[in-house]
């Protein structure tokens, strides 16, 4: 007579599987490179049309922006280190905002394990900012409040505490 798994048997057998499924998985650079290559290979798609599926892909993959605040002591003159990060398939990502004269060349993000990031030191206050992807597409930060914007472009706000 074959064994009929009991509830506890099933639970014991599933536990390792559950742990494995819950283990964080890093998406390597090749994942995004492959996705970009496949999208670009589709015929009849211009740059702007490319960005529709690309934007969806970026969002479906989790347009992750994590801004981490860490305080390394009372160094108020230099400000607190603030990390800006974005997960998106892109060739280049820049951070623009009230802290760098809105200059896309000022703070290019570097990519590691599929996430683009840069860390700045900011004094306490309220700052408007955005990400510029591949030079001409603006993204706000999904993890921070949207800003009122008189120019019609996605913009976020970060508040740095004292």
């Amino acid at each position: 007579m074959p064994d009929t798994p009991t509830h506890s048997d099933s639970a014991d057998g599933l536990e390792p599987v559950t742990r494995e499924l819950q283990r964080p998985v890093a998406l390597g650079d090749r994942y995004f490179d492959r996705a970009m290559a496949e999208l670009r290979a589709q015929p009849g798609r211009g740059r702007r049309r490319l960005w529709r599926p690309l934007g969806a892909l970026a969002l479906a993959a989790g347009l992750l922006t994590a801004v981490g605040l860490g305080f390394f002591g009372p160094d108020h003159d230099a400000g607190a280190p603030v990390r800006f990060a974005l997960v998106a398939p892109a060739g280049e990502v820049a951070l623009v905002g009230d802290f760098n004269d809105w200059d896309p060349r000022a703070q290019p993000l570097t990519r590691q394990d599929g996430a683009w990031s840069v860390t700045l030191r900011l004094r306490p206050g309220r700052y408007r900012y955005a990400f510029v992807v591949d030079g001409d597409h603006w993204f706000n930060d999904p993890n921070h409040p949207a800003a009122q914007d008189e120019f019609g472009t996605p913009t976020s706000v970060i508040t740095v505490a004292n």
């Binding site: 989790g62 306490p124 508040t159």
Partner: protein
């Protein structure tokens, strides 16, 4: 359009121009913005937020009219914030106060918050108030939440937690809900430039 032409034709002082404006903006726009900045600083307002607004507009491809209008509007909000918060208010408080005013807060609320907080900085509570209003939280609820926390002497971190609780989608999370996020917005084309 008429405003833009008027702004460009406005006589300006031949004072020192902020080099960031001179380098990034066309001459006419830079001069109009600089005139607004000169007037604002003569009244004791900080220049940098106004410079940043102009550079923001330029980076976003806005035309000269929108840039000059935005800078003037911000100067007006900073002025109102300073009147509400006092002449000694630091720039960070003025910037956050201006944002709160532009989001719909009444100037009297800023003064009340100033009195509740004593000598503590106001940038974070005011910024949180602006965020709540911008996110569509009702003015009464937004203000009562901020006022209650200020009355209890809450820390800046507590104000930010309040904001994260009340505004959906904010706060550090590993995977934000993608469906709520619009795709990136392309810049306006260069033909929008003056």
């Amino acid at each position: 359009m008429a405003l833009g032409v008027a702004c460009l034709l406005t006589p300006v002082r031949l004072g020192a121009q902020d080099p960031r404006l001179a380098v990034r903006l066309p001459g006419g726009v830079a001069r109009s913005v600089q005139a607004t900045i000169d007037s604002a600083t003569a009244d004791g307002l900080p220049a940098d937020p106004l410079v940043q607004k102009a550079l923001e507009g330029w980076s976003k491809g806005a035309d000269s009219t929108r840039i000059v209008t935005a800078v003037r509007a911000l100067a007006g909000s900073l002025q109102s914030a300073r009147q509400a918060l006092g002449a000694a208010a630091p720039t960070a408080d003025l910037v956050a106060g201006a944002a709160a005013l532009r989001a719909g807060a009444q100037p009297a609320l800023l003064t009340t918050l100033r009195n509740l907080r004593g000598t503590d900085p106001l940038a974070v509570p005011l910024s949180v108030l602006a965020d709540l209003l911008t996110a569509g939280i009702g003015p009464e609820r937004a203000w009562s939440s901020v006022r209650e926390m200020a009355s209890r002497g809450a820390s800046d971190a507590a104000f930010l937690r309040l904001r994260d609780e009340l505004v959906p989608g904010t706060g550090d999370r590993p995977l934000p809900p993608a469906v709520e996020r619009p795709p990136g917005s392309p810049l306006p084309t260069s033909r929008d430039r003056p």
